[in-house]
């Protein structure tokens, strides 16, 4: 990232940071960055309005105690810096482990604060999940976003962490509904109720991942429309769509191609009902790009844009 480059996004003022989602500017259609998409991003930049990037893939974590702990990967950082001169870049982290009981990755927050100084972003996000657990002799990093329990203890824990993130970084923070392949019994809240309690307690926004919701519907029998009816949609700032695949009797959130029709149906359902929505992002793992192809990706983004144009006016009028 070039610190001297002019940011394409509005720098949030302290007054708008953290809690006031209504002051965010809609960005439109977003594409998730992967290194394999660089040519596409360069040559077809008119197909999307902003780029979302998992910041964790732009650096190498040298581990706790290393100074500096996070080492930029120059090629990726330079590319993102180049894009940021013409389009907003929104970070979507995987590194916080905000639901880990023993600790969360506080140094990741500091790293994001440094990035916010280099490249002011309109908002940022991570997952309602954990991947760090205590281990012997070393802490375990499960390499996967594990579901948290929906109970009061987790609510209090994640609330404290979100408030901490909001205090440190002057941009709204969003939490993403997670994908899971099993369910904990005896929950105090359903997922939507838990997310509502979290947004009420912290003022954070939601990143509503419709493919996660669809995957949970397929595997766990979640009723997606009932989930959306229960969810406080005024908190939704960003939506994710993606594709998946069948594997061994499950449907996987694999980001492996075109979004399935039920995800488009959910998007149509929810777009007019999210008054503070600022962006819809298509996620694709780079290794699947050859299979989907540039034209296939065009079609996904084009369909998103059509729906956005059709439904945003309705949402704003409401």
């Amino acid at each position: 990232m070039r610190s001297g480059s002019r940011p394409a996004v509005r720098t949030p003022t302290p007054a708008s940071a953290g809690r006031d989602l209504t002051r965010l500017q809609p960005l439109g259609i977003g594409l998730g960055y992967q290194a394999q998409l660089r040519d596409y991003i360069r040559t077809r930049h008119d197909r999307f309005d902003f780029l979302e990037v998992v910041p964790d893939i732009l650096w190498t974590d040298l581990g706790r105690g290393a100074r500096p702990r996070y080492r930029d990967i120059a090629q990726d950082v330079a590319f993102i810096g180049e894009v940021a001169r013409t389009k907003p870049v929104i970070p979507h982290s995987i590194g916080l482990s905000i639901g880990s009981a023993h600790r969360y990755e506080r140094e990741h927050v500091e790293q994001m604060a440094r990035w916010f100084e280099r490249l002011p972003f309109a908002w940022h996000s991570d997952h309602l999940a954990f991947h760090l657990t205590e281990g012997s002799p070393q802490e375990i990093n499960l390499n996967l976003t594990m579901p948290v329990t929906f109970d009061r203890e987790t609510l209090d824990l994640v609330t404290r962490r979100i408030l901490d993130v909001q205090r440190r970084i002057a941009a709204p923070f969003l939490i993403e509904n997670n994908v899971a392949y099993f369910e904990y019994p005896e929950s105090t809240f359903d997922e939507a109720g838990f997310l509502n309690a979290l947004t009420a307690a912290t003022g954070c926004g939601l990143l509503l991942d419709l493919h996660n919701l669809h995957t949970n519907a397929r595997n766990l029998g979640v009723d997606p429309l009932a989930f959306l009816d229960r969810l406080d949609l005024a908190s939704v700032v960003e939506i994710h769509v993606a594709g998946g695949l069948e594997f061994d009797g499950f449907y996987l959130d694999a980001h492996s191609g075109a979004s399935p029709e039920p995800v488009w149906t959910l998007l149509e359902e929810v777009l007019p009902r999210c008054p503070n929505l600022c962006g819809v992002v298509f996620e694709l793992f780079g290794s699947w790009f050859d299979e989907l192809g540039a034209e296939g990706l065009d079609r996904q983004l084009g369909r998103m844009r059509d729906l956005w144009a059709r439904h945003r006016a309705q949402a704003l009028a409401a």
Partner: protein
């Protein structure tokens, strides 16, 4: 701190196959440091197919990292044996980092102890050296050059593997290669003839002469 214990046991359920198998039969039900509801939750999910799938996803992600950084080792072992060794490694060594290099180096340690096969030691040493040379390091940390001893002609061996072919009867020819990170990628100082596994281009060199032909960026 029972929540931390709960997550610790859950982590073990998705990274330790034997523990999961025992827990799913109720034979090794976690007890200590857990509330009653946490115990019931863990017992309920231990046998869930989705938990086993989660464990497979974690292992698959780790396998993907190994394939990325050890392509020649994989070509030598073949994808099936490589995956089997990765599975054995994952069952023995829990994941500790998202990042590729640590995982690949730990897997090399596993392979060194677990697997005997012609050419394996030198191919793995070469890939291990590439990882060590290219991995990011803290400020001020030394980046030592890497020494790889080939017992077989690397000019034959490495290009074959880079093309995905299994080597057979590669001539025995000892080479000592010293790798270091230059301004434009990894360079090797070698003894004897050597070639690039990517281009197949052969560069002739004499003992101790610095050659640039053997490079993978």
């Amino acid at each position: 701190m029972t929540q931390a214990n709960f997550q610790r046991v859950l982590g073990r359920l998705v990274t330790d196959r034997d523990f999961r198998a025992r827990a799913s039969l109720g034979a090794a039900g976690p007890r200590r440091g857990l509330s009653a509801i946490e115990r019931r939750r863990l017992m309920a999910i231990a046998a869930a197919p989705g938990l086993a799938l989660t464990a497979r996803l974690i292992d698959s992600f780790r396998l993907g990292k190994l394939i990325t950084l050890l392509p020649l080792t994989r070509a030598l072992l073949g994808p099936v044996r490589f995956a089997a060794e990765a599975e054995a490694y994952c069952a023995k060594v829990p994941p500790v980092s998202f990042y590729l290099a640590d995982e690949a180096l730990a897997f090399c340690d596993h392979l060194k102890a677990a697997c005997r096969r012609p050419y394996l030691a030198e191919v793995m040493s070469y890939e291990r050296a590439m990882i060590e040379l290219k991995r990011p390091r803290p400020d001020g940390a030394a980046r030592p050059s890497q020494r790889v001893v080939f017992e077989h002609d690397p000019a034959v061996l490495l290009p074959l593997l880079a093309r995905g072919e299994r080597p057979r009867a590669v001539p025995r020819r000892r080479h000592v290669a010293i790798g270091f990170l230059g301004t434009d990628g990894v360079d090797w100082r070698i003894e004897g003839a050597f070639s690039s596994p990517r281009s197949g281009e052969v560069a002739e060199g004499r003992r101790g002469r610095r050659l640039r032909a053997f490079r993978r960026s």
